[in-house]
Symmetry: C2
Subunit: 387 residues, 2 copies
């Protein structure tokens, strides 16, 4: 057993065994665990009279072999009450089922240099399509990078596309980010590499973050396991950000879990002509997600004081914007081309001649008009540029 896994109490053994025998997120088993506790639930499952569909798997389960496999995998098995256990997962205890999956995991396999609880505490999840565009990858990378610089780790699923871009953006932050920059929550054992092309990414995540799974080492991903895994991504983080996703997407399922856990959902909009912005745009349209365009937008939504962080992001006004009302009236009474005399200007602007002269001199000082010859005024190029 890894040095970081605590003693094998009977509770830990029961959780470890249940995590091997029962498919994660099984509603019936979760209800048994919540009602009886893990030890009684594990005993009941193995009892001769059990009608559980997991009974046969429990009968062939070999705990000694399983412990050896976990040890070889370099993972630690973390359970509620351990310092590394992320308490925000408790939100799953009172969460309605999504696609008949539910429940707090009985335990988690964790592999990597960071403490899962450290990574998860202030984190946000970033999810999206595997078949992403360069736009989506650019935005995911950039937002993840800036969030980690703000001490906000990134949770994702280590898949192709948006997931990989999010992890890479987090990992690209230098030493300032420390060793708790990102967590990959997997739908397979933490010793498996899926997709296999992500071997280097997995090792980089393990070096500066953690790989997490509720499936034992050696297990492979399935469609149901992806859907079940998504609830952990949503529950581990303070908010879920969806960057790009087509109409049909697993990322949509993660968003459903985030909403079920009461976590904010944010979405990056995109072109209405891009199929990969269909889901983010639709979530925003249906008020299921808040639109975010920038790190500032995300921080504002995470901050309890709301819009405060946005102060100072307004763009400066042009010279014309800062003009007084009568200055503007005089300026706008000037012809686009050619010159105008003071009397004619006074009628056009509906202001007395002396007032017009005062304003013309103000405007000339700002470089917007000039007196071309005695009493004949014209607009300057500078004004036309600002028009």
């Amino acid at each position: 057993m890894s040095a970081r896994t605590a003693d094998w109490t009977t509770e830990r053994v029961a959780r470890f065994s249940l995590a091997h025998v029962v498919e994660p997120g099984d509603p019936r088993m979760w209800r048994a665990v919540a009602t009886l506790g893990v030890e009684a639930a594990w005993s009941a499952l193995r009892s001769p009279g059990s009608d559980s569909r997991w009974r046969q798997r429990a009968a062939v389960f070999d705990p000694e072999a399983a412990i050896r496999l976990t040890e070889r995998s370099g993972a630690r098995f973390v359970i509620p009450g351990d310092p590394e256990w992320p308490e925000q997962l408790d939100a799953l205890a009172c969460c309605e089922p999504v696609q008949e999956r539910m429940g707090v995991p009985v335990g988690l396999w964790v592999r990597g240099a960071a403490m899962l609880s450290d990574v998860a505490r202030a984190s946000v999840a970033m999810v999206g399509s595997r078949a992403s565009t360069s736009y989506g990858e650019h935005v995911a990378l950039d937002l993840a990078h800036n969030l980690v610089r703000e001490q906000i780790p990134i949770i994702s699923g280590a898949a192709y596309g948006i997931d990989a871009a999010a992890h890479r953006g987090a990992l690209a932050v230098g030493e300032i980010g420390g060793d708790a920059v990102t967590a990959a929550v997997l739908a397979c054992g933490v010793d498996q590499i899926y997709p296999s092309a992500h071997a280097n990414l997995y090792e980089a995540i393990a070096a500066r973050g953690v790989l997490v799974s509720e499936l034992p080492p050696g297990e492979h991903p399935t469609r149901l396991r992806f859907l079940t895994r998504n609830r952990l991504i949503a529950a581990l983080s303070r908010a879920t950000i969806i960057v790009e996703a087509a109409y049909r997407s697993g990322a949509r399922n993660t968003v459903t879990w985030a909403a079920a856990c009461g976590r904010p959902v944010m979405a990056v909009p995109g072109s209405v002509t891009s199929g990969l912005s269909t889901t983010p745009n639709r979530l925003i349209r249906d008020h299921e997600a808040e639109l975010v365009s920038s790190t500032e937008d995300i921080l504002a939504l995470l901050s309890p004081v709301g819009q405060d962080t946005l102060i100072g992001h307004e763009e400066p006004a042009t010279t014309v914007d800062r003009l007084g009302e009568t200055e503007l009236l005089v300026l706008e009474a000037m012809p686009g081309r050619g010159t105008l005399g003071l009397d004619e200007l006074s009628i056009r602007a509906a202001l007395p001649v002396p007032r017009c002269l005062v304003e013309l001199e103000e405007l000339a000082a700002k470089g917007l008009v000039r007196e071309r010859e005695a009493g004949l005024w014209q607009l300057t190029r500078r004004h036309l540029d600002q028009r």
Copy 2:
């Protein structure tokens, strides 16, 4: 005078004169008109004791020459009570000032084959940047075209960029659209072409819609006039759609007017990396506009019954989505590569052997698995494609 302008009653002459002498949207004059009526307001303005800033302009106003100019321009001067008057402009009577502009116009110059009231009744406004991208122009053209096919005329401002794309999309609808497809509301006289490159567009709009202005023929656009004109675009239409606009944009001002008139505001999202989607994305973010991606989205927001028109737009499910729960369990217990025997499958799926066999046969009938040799099953390519 154009044949379509009614008799020159004293009210019409007073409105015509005020429209020449007073800059549109002037709050003081609007309050005088609203309190005294147009005839008394016009008399008061011309009285020797008047302290109005417009008094000098009133003194040099030549109604006969002005009537001749309107006649030559081919425009008709339309006032409240005329059949062509668009009654929805009354919304401006109880609207707070925006940038110190306010009020129902005292009259409108209209040029073109359509009746302004016909164009305006069911219309939406489409506004955006002059310096638009091909994305914005494509979307504006496409949405405008489809809205006109749904009998919803388009109001815009005949400027470069989004305005022009919106008008062109409306005009591209064939005879089915009739002669009330679009209205251009101008910040200059309806005999002026601004920008001059839009001469053909102006004539096309006049042939199948109308050009509208509260400024007399011969008048040129100014910055203030654009801002004042925007309230007419917002008030004439049932909703305002903003397609592309940079941070600083006149389109933002039109949106402010639409909100002030209580009209819905809609925005087309875009890439967060495009400066021209800054304003639409920001309006959506701040819940000042509803996100629209399609004609269906717009129709749903215009429809009093809300989402009804969206029925039937959901995409079909794949074969895998339609599987029953136990079918899915069996499918997902199958290895990605190679074959699996029935006993092993029973343990993996945690289902009795006979049940597994029933489900395997169902799955085989759907083309998702096949029996490679006696008792050994494998996934088919079809399943892998849907994964």
